[in-house]
Symmetry: C2
Subunit: 456 residues, 2 copies
């Protein structure tokens, strides 16, 4: 069985056992069963606890061995000291992988914790089983309705093209929320925890092969074998983008990362240079990660760094131009023929050079469409960003040109009291609440375009 | 009449005339009447148009002179060429100020436009009348239910402590939306347009005296008399913070700012240095402006730059530490007594140095409160930021310590599918969706604290 086959089995299980199921709503073992039940998982869910008979209308089994038929995935919430025999039982049952929520291993920084994790790894490796965790939030695959976490609300995770792996359950939450705010969905998400025998390099290799994953986003504090990850990433970034947010850059903070998931954070500048060398996009904040991931999930990468700005409002277009400048993007110079067409179609009262002030024509869908089309066809333009408001005919014009080979991002101002507009998600155009964020997205498309070209 | 008295009269008018009122819903003259009616303005609203008799159930007057009684504010939407006699009529009527939405003046860059604006200014000055604009979105004062703009949805603007003045109506919109997303309200907002005879220096002087204004936020592309603004700002920043977002930093963009509101943007570094010298906080994006303004509107400034982090999740606290590092804030070193108390109250399983991992104690309100209190009382700590989730007892503990003399900001993760929590607005604690934004807010409180100390 290849890694991809094994991971596909874990992520699309026929059935799932929850070892350490509990009837106490404050316990992980309760929440994990609830998560699988409420996610609408179509396969079998088997709670395991010798002291219970029923939970969420499901039969509870005394042991894993007592569960009938095959089980592909185990979710484990029992105390650390009891995990070793359970992993042996998992191996005997032929389980492909376990999500181990339990903590109390390497992250303790004690010899006992280190030793226990080592034994766990050896046992799992002997049985060709993969352990996600221990000391983690779990894993989700919303397409398969798998919510193997102790957070039932992940049943509501939108399905999309961004896959996540994070050395922190809290960061999985933070990134999913930031993507959700922009209507961007998830393919798979992994809380990596202590990375017992499943590390970032294998996750990246798997996600590189996963067709539903358009973009890989990682939150990394430190890795034990950076070369393995960099080598895999160098290959994968030829096909799809990888974004990294590196946590723990302040030397003073490093003890925090050690006690967190057992990895001492390395020097930021070293990581940043090595990641960039491998073709990974390094971002500086959760918001930038979500902005870039959303753009790369929906739009083609750019063939160059020359940006055209269209705006229904002049001030925000100036702020957008400033953001381009700050992120190293150039404002495109239009060809004379482009300028002529803009003058013919646009309002005589406003500026029709880049940024293009579309204010006078914003109510004329056909004119807006033609103005954007002529700019998109201009050889001096690599990408465009458009500033619009929720009720404008300009939005229909954006839909008309949305499937151009050159990328588009949008800054959408939604009036006070209005519901957010879902029009742009339908046409695969990322829409952001500020001009700066729309440029973050565009910069990601420009940066990844340069990476692909550099890799031939 | 002092400037403050005059501005108070304009912002809290007894009655308002809309000159150029229209029954065509696509015209500014229609939207402006709608804005005043829907805002629930308690005083008189007098539409003026010789060809209409009724609009929104209001009597329409043929001329301003025909309006009975006193009028404090005129909203003008008639074409530019007709404005001069109307301003004379306003002066004759004793109107204190006009919001002139009309465009077609200095921003055209033509001699005719320049000359018309000059005559407007001379006429208004002779009559001791102030003109907001021309070529602007208008002005709002939500406390007085005045929405003197062509955007009726500003009736929904939340009342708060941030006052805005922007050289762009679109940026007024962008900033109000960014503040609203964080539940931060507005005191006054001015779209400055071409600044006929009311410029940033006078607005800042007025807002410096306005008790409802806790923070002044400006979007500036360029000013004609920077020294006047800097001189006023130097005084006002002794009492309340001023934040500036400077638009048009890219030299290539400057033509855009000229055609926008008639100001050629100056060199960014010059502006930035001069603003900082005057005690103004310069920010780099709309989001940062809203983050900083929200914190300054609700929390005291900090006595130093040593930050303590509390978090219910380890990963995001590491990202928060990184954000502190990037913004030049220090992670506080706790005193031995503080460490002892944290060890006594906190979970033995987690890290209790800065950042403090509160995970093990997050369900114990009293323990959380005592842990935060002992840290707030530590002489080595100037400010704290707390990462929490919507349903945690930690939030009650934050409320318990919220009125400490040291500032607090919060990063609040709201689970998917949950409504945003309004608990923090009630206790005057700014709550942000990401750790980085919570640090933006804290950094604003630290920077303004340093400014106040430098001014004695």
């Amino acid at each position: 069985m290849t890694l991809v086959e094994q991971m596909n089995g874990i992520l699309n299980p026929r059935s799932v056992a929850v070892i350490g199921a509990s009837n106490n709503p404050e316990k992980m073992g309760y929440m994990c069963v609830q998560s699988m039940v409420e996610s609408g998982f179509p396969g079998g869910v088997y709670p395991v606890n010798p002291n219970l008979t029923e939970l969420f209308n499901l039969k509870v089994y005394p042991t894993l061995s007592a569960v009938p038929g095959e089980v592909d995935l185990a979710i484990i919430t029992i105390p650390a000291q009891q995990t070793l025999p359970v992993i042996e039982e998992c191996v005997a049952k032929g389980i492909k992988g376990a999500v181990m929520i339990t903590s109390g291993f390497r992250e303790l920084g004690t010899d006992v914790g280190m030793e226990l994790q080592k034994q766990l790894r050896e046992t799992a490796n002997r049985g060709s089983m993969k352990i996600i965790g221990p000391n983690c939030l779990g894993m989700i695959n919303p397409r398969a309705r798998v919510n193997a976490t102790f957070r039932p609300e992940y049943a509501l995770t939108k399905i999309g093209g961004v896959s996540l792996a994070a050395q922190s359950g809290g960061m999985i939450t933070a990134i999913i929320l930031a993507l959700d705010a922009q209507d961007i969905g998830i393919s798979k998400a992994f809380s990596m925890g202590n990375r017992c025998n499943l590390d970032f390099d294998e996750i990246v290799a798997y996600l590189g092969e996963d067709e539903d994953t358009k973009v890989i986003a990682l939150y990394i504090e430190g890795v034990d074998e950076p070369r393995r990850l960099l080598s895999v990433a160098s290959e994968v970034t030829k096909r799809k983008p990888i974004i990294v947010l590196k946590g723990g850059r302040d030397q003073q903070l490093n003890p925090a990362t050690l006690s967190h998931t057992g990895a001492l954070a390395g020097k930021y500048e070293f990581y940043k240079a090595a990641f960039s060398q491998a073709g990974i996009l390094v971002v500086e904040s959760i918001t930038e990660l979500a902005d870039v991931a959303g753009a790369l999930a929906l739009q083609p990468s750019a063939a160059g760094d020359r940006v055209a700005i269209f705006s229904i409002q002049a001030g925000p277009s100036i702020v957008m131009g400033d953001a381009c400048h700050r992120l190293g993007l150039k404002l495109a110079q239009f060809a004379p023929a482009t300028r002529q067409t803009l003058r013919r179609l646009g309002s005589p009262l406003v500026r029709l050079d880049n940024p293009v002030d579309i204010a006078g024509t914003g109510n004329d869908r056909a004119a807006c469409r033609e103005m954007m089309r002529v700019v998109l066809e201009d050889d001096g333009v690599d990408a465009i960003s458009v500033i619009t408001v929720a009720d404008s005919p300009l939005n229909d014009a954006i839909a008309d040109v949305a499937h151009h080979r050159k990328p588009i991002t949008v800054c959408l101002f939604t009036p006070l009291g209005s519901a957010p507009l879902d029009k742009f998600a339908g046409i695969q155009v990322p829409a952001y609440p500020t001009p700066e964020q729309a440029v973050n997205g565009l910069a990601g498309l420009v940066r990844y375009g340069a990476i692909r070209r550099s890799k031939g």
